[in-house]
Amino acid sequence: MHLFKLVVRNALRHRLRTALTVVGLAVAVLAYGLLQTVVDAWYAGAYAASNARLVTRNAISLVFSLPISYEARIRGVEGVTKVAHSNWFGGIYREPKNFFAQFAVSDNYLDLYSEFVLPEEQRIAYLRDRKGCLVGRQLADQFGLRVGDVLPLKGTIFPGTWEFVVRGIFDGSDRTKITRQMLFHWDYLNETLRKTAPRRADQVGVYVAGIDDPDNAAAISRAIDSLFRNSLAETLTETEQAFQLGFVAMSNQIIAAIQIVSYVVILIILAVMANTMAMSARERTAEYATLKAIGFGPGFLALLIVGESLAICAIGGGAGILLTAPAATVFKMAAGNIFPVFQVSPGTVAMQFACALAVGLAAAVIPAVRSARVRIVEGLRAIA
């Protein structure tokens, strides 16, 4: 109790210094949390992707398509339960800055994505309307889209102006699911292409296959690819998660830089905190010497310093952790729709806590050892 009292009162002795250190710690822990959340958001799509779904694409590049005739053969592979197909559309909604993903998909596409929840009546309405489309909740909220609205897109890969009618709005099964995309009938695209660009008709961007056992993903992938070996369009099949991570990997260096910066921030505050504790301990050398003269051991002095350091870090780190969630909300609003999912994960909070604890302990080590070792006679001379 007396130790606790001394720790708290010592921590509050230089209120301005302690307050500035606490603010620095709070900002550092907050910055760390936000930067780690940016990294998490980057990977959110890949992490949300399933290992129970395989994506088959052209082995040369995603730019090249696959014949629609492959679907039946893929469906015949042992372990494959369902097969859907999709094409990246790449249209512009009003202005290029309004970018979002648009896919022309087979009608059974959503059967493979149980994480997208669509009311049954909207599903039926969508299936009945050749020009119908489905939009995710995040996308609908962003552009104020409602069921029945017309959604015009200017084609870039598929020229012309394409008009769709919003027939349904699907939600994610939880807050981590990204619902910032638009789906429409592949048949509508294909029929139009048959009229306008017949050579591009009956082509598929990727096949998505549901499998009965994720543990067999590698074997099934090999089986699918072996079907089309030495054909004009060889395939490359991988899990949906690996497929998504392939996209994320393109920005690996940026992510690495963000992660490095997040730890540099912690290192900087460690230096600040260590300086604060060193100054405090140096100023109190005579007090520590007096305590030793009275009979208190070096362990008690070390505990005083470590306790004070941890108390400051607990306040600063705690404030930083508490501010992270609201700051993330503000950050997401300010960042617009760059990050459809921007949530502070429990893992990030745990790392923030660990960083604050590590800073508290590391900053106290040298002052604690020095104070514990101080010779009483020399310590007493510090004020004499």
Binding site: H2, K5, L6, R9, N10, R13, A286, E287, T290, L291, K292, A293, I294, G295, F296, G297, R375, I376, V377, L380, I383, A384
Partner: protein, 232 residues
Amino acid sequence: MNAPLVEIRDLRKSYRRGGQIVPVLTGISLDIREGDFTALMGPSGSGKTTLLNLVAGIDKPDGGVLRVGGVDITALAEAELAEWRAANVGFIFQFYNLMPVLTAYENVELPLLLTALSRAERRERVALTLSMLGLADRMDHYPNELSGGQQQRVAIARAVIADPTLIVADEPTGDLDRNSAADVLSMMQRLNRELGKTLIMVTHDANAARAAKALVHLEKGELIGAPEPVAH
């Protein structure tokens, strides 16, 4: 005759300064008996504070014999020495050395935290000691809310609270005005006369030294003559 409380024989101490060894005490021999109030006097650099520090167990001699209460404190390890100081020595410093973040009550209570006394026993003892020293109404004051004389009285209370065998005081009046100094010296005399405490005081103030029962003069690390009784 009983054995002396403090037995010093051929005590030597030197410091290393700038690569040179500077002798501070060069073979001091002195006995201090229980109930004595001894003043160590001498010019700056004579070694009086070093001698006090050695007797109090906060510094180690280079050689010689140093027994306090029959214990050869030169043979004790650091942890043992800390325990020995907690049980046997009370300290009074020139600049009081109170913890600024603790109240007068809490400062005086500090040495008792190293004992097995209960909280209630500690409270009773601290309150009684502070009352004896005329600080009953200053218990909840922090050092910066007290005058120099009051702070030194708190320091005296801290020095005696654990009932030590020996009280050492290094220039206890050096930072006080004449009235406060007289007050502090009077209290030290009471501790000696009424409670039978053994005190060793370092001072260069002849007036302060006259409060003691005996004067010991040091010069250049050596005792000058035998302890000189003070007539009161």
